[in-house]
């Protein structure tokens, strides 16, 4: 009974909240607009926006030297998570069955384990850093910890459900993923989408001035 609810209505509800919530947040940001810039630009902003969209994925040397832990842990977590999310066989099958209607190449079992270990290590390192470093401890709020905890639980339940031997574990994983989807648009997890806007704005503004941001 509960399983049917998690597998059916709650999935569609969470997906709907996620999609509408994300669109609502993006529209809410963009509709405020930005005042026109009357200064004479050195270069067009579009190229700079596009360049910064990609270049900010790589750290500048000075900050890499000083922020190694956050950067390395951040790469580990994000790369591992993307590999799990989009290349794990159960996920590809789920997405193919429920959303796209087609699948794609998946990670072998050892690849899944490796991605999971990298993602877990990255997430735990980031969480530990957040708790122990005076700067991140000062600037973090409950939303940061809630998001980290929720993502951790989703990943943990996913690993436990990997064998697909226990239906309960699969449902628990799905339930947690659905909660994450519902929480997503109203949390800092939105950075997964808004980073493109913020990088774009900054890249464009700096490119107008002739600075490669």
């Amino acid at each position: 009974m509960i399983g049917d609810f998690i597998d059916g209505p709650l999935w569609y509800l969470s997906l709907t909240v996620f999609l509408l919530g994300v669109v609502w947040r993006l529209v809410a940001i963009l509709r405020v607009g930005v005042a026109p810039d009357f200064s004479t630009a050195r270069h067009g902003g579009a190229g700079g926006a596009l360049r910064t969209l990609f270049t900010r994925s790589l750290p500048r040397r000075p900050v890499f030297t000083r922020g190694k832990v956050q950067l390395i842990a951040g790469y580990m977590f994000h790369l591992g998570l993307f590999a799990l999310l989009f290349l794990a066989q159960p996920h590809v099958e789920f997405i193919s069955e429920r959303i796209t209607g087609f699948g794609w190449v998946t990670l072998p079992h050892w690849g899944f384990i490796l991605a999971a270990e990298v993602a877990f290590a990255g997430l735990l390192l980031l969480l530990l850093y957040r708790l122990m470093n005076p700067v991140t401890r000062l600037i973090s709020d409950t939303g940061d910890y809630t998001a980290s905890l929720l993502v951790f639980l989703v990943m943990l339940s996913g690993c436990l459900a990997l064998a697909q031997a226990y239906e309960g574990l699969r449902l628990l994983h799905l339930l947690l993923a659905e909660l994450l989807l519902i929480y997503f648009p109203f949390s800092t997890l939105m950075h997964a989408f808004t980073f493109a806007i913020s990088r774009g704005y900054t890249g464009a503004a700096m490119a107008r001035k002739g600075v490669n941001a």
């Binding site: 947040r25 809410a28 940001i29 963009l30 509709r31 405020v32 607009g33 930005v34 005042a35 026109p36 810039d37 009357f38 200064s39 004479t40 050195r42 910064t52 900010r56 994925s57 750290p59 500048r60 000075p62 900050v63 000083r66 922020g67 956050q70 950067l71 951040g74 957040r130 470093n133 005076p134 700067v135 991140t136 401890r137 000062l138 600037i139 973090s140 709020d141 939303g143 940061d144 109203f186 800092t188 939105m190 950075h191 808004t194 980073f195 806007i197 913020s198 990088r199 774009g200 704005y201 900054t202 890249g203 503004a205 700096m206 001035k209 002739g210 600075v211 490669n212 941001a213």
Partner: protein, 421 residues
């Protein structure tokens, strides 16, 4: 809540545009910006984390632009941005931020923290929580025309000395000249040799130029404190004078924030494009050099490095011109680590040098420049901003360093070949 705090809140609300909203939505509180800020790096104080300095603005954004904030407000669980917030953050907003934008260059999600801090200062200015030194500088500029109280008579006295020493005539109010030059008070009072150098170079290159008796001051204390009205008034004086004289170009002096004010913020402050172009003095010298209108006679073989003023380079885009010029006049030029758009600020930008109570902190964080200069292994630093120059000299003296600071325009003039055509 007092009227001024209500006005400050309304101002802060109006400053939240799509950029600000996307920036706060993207911030994951990773703390990397702290690693780029000399105030944090040198003191280790987490309160100097750049994004933390924006907490008042974030508080307002969160309560009015997010679902959780609105929900908390409905439940009566959120607190309004209060006068105490302005009081508590004043030091972080003014004393420990140079608006240098180094943090904006390293944020992994691309947040331009300096852009937001500049906006937040508009609200702080209305709240009344501003440093006395910066308030006085703005007031003096609005009443006398200069943050240092330099009047037309002071300028004329300086120009008379320059003319006597150089034998040149410095044109004032020449209608239809090609270029109109602005200066900063510090150049007039502390570094008149800058004005003499400009006059010599322009004479050699045959530049048609003038100074306006109605507007010669380029520094803009309104930009620094966050007074849109004040900044607009100061910019308008220069714009009106340039348009009245019918010049094609307005020359920004070396001064960094003056360049930001007149080149990038000015048109937006007055709400329209100018009827002339703004060019930084270094861009103009580079252009004259490339056109063959100035040539050089020899080079300095003194080992020297360059301090990139933040507002000219990182926030202004004048990156290659100073290097092109230096390579022509200095054979011993070496770059510092973290140069160009990643250079460390001198610590005096954003009005901090006009803020007396921030002096001890400013000198402490100068430790970063000290290390940078020591690593470069040279004893001469070239820069292109009168404010940076004063702040560097004070810092070097404080740390008892035997390092000389020289202005780039003066160095160019020193090796100028007379009679080039």
């Amino acid at each position: 809540m007092s009227d001024r705090i209500e006005q400050a809140r309304a101002e802060l609300r109006s400053q939240i545009d799509a950029k600000v909203s996307s920036y706060f939505s993207s911030c994951i509180h990773c703390g990397l910006c702290a690693e780029a800020c000399h105030f944090h790096v040198e003191t280790g104080d987490p309160r100097y984390t750049p994004i933390y300095k924006l907490e008042p603005m974030r508080k307002l954004w969160r309560s009015e632009h997010t679902l959780s904030g609105r929900f908390s407000k409905l439940l009566g669980r959120s607190t309004e941005l209060s006068e105490q917030d302005f009081a508590d953050w004043e030091e972080l907003v003014y004393d420990s931020c140079n608006l240098c934008g180094r943090c904006s260059m390293v944020c992994p999600v691309g947040i331009d923290i300096a852009y937001m801090l500049r906006k937040q200062r508009e609200a702080f200015n209305l709240s009344g929580y501003t440093p006395e030194g910066m308030r006085n500088a703005l007031q003096r500029t609005l009443t006398t025309g200069s943050p240092m109280g330099v009047t037309l008579k002071t300028l004329q006295a300086t120009l008379a000395h320059v003319e006597k020493a150089s034998g040149l005539t410095i044109p004032i109010d020449r209608q239809g000249a090609d270029f109109m030059a602005l200066f900063s008070s510090m150049e007039v009072v502390n570094f008149p040799e800058y004005i003499a150098s400009v006059a010599r170079i322009f004479d050699t290159a045959g530049v048609s130029w003038t100074i306006s008796s109605e507007a010669f001051e380029a520094t803009n204390a309104g930009i620094q404190i966050g007074s849109r009205e004040g900044a607009k008034e100061i910019v308008s004086r220069a714009v009106n004078a340039a348009e009245k004289l019918g010049v094609n170009y307005l020359i920004s002096p070396e001064c960094g924030h003056a360049y930001t004010a007149i080149r990038w913020e000015g048109p937006n402050l007055i709400g329209r494009r100018y009827r002339f172009e703004v060019i930084h003095i270094l861009e103009l010298l580079d252009q004259l050099m490339r056109e063959g209108r100035i040539r050089f006679n020899g080079k300095s073989d003194t080992p020297m490095t360059l301090h990139d003023p933040c507002q000219i380079v990182r926030r202004g885009g004048v990156i290659k011109a100073p290097r092109n010029l230096l390579h022509q006049v200095a054979s011993g030029f070496v770059e510092t680590t973290d140069h160009g758009s990643m250079n460390w600020c001198c610590g005096g930008g954003g009005g901090v040098s006009a803020n007396e109570r921030a002096e001890a902190l400013r000198l402490k964080v100068f430790g970063r420049k000290k290390k940078q200069f020591e690593e470069s292994g040279v004893d001469t630093v070239v820069t292109a901003c009168a404010n940076c120059r004063i702040v560097l000299e004070e810092g070097l003296e404080h740390y008892e360093m035997d390092t000389e600071v020289i202005g780039l325009t003066e160095l160019v003039a020193e090796y100028l070949e007379q009679g080039a055509d």
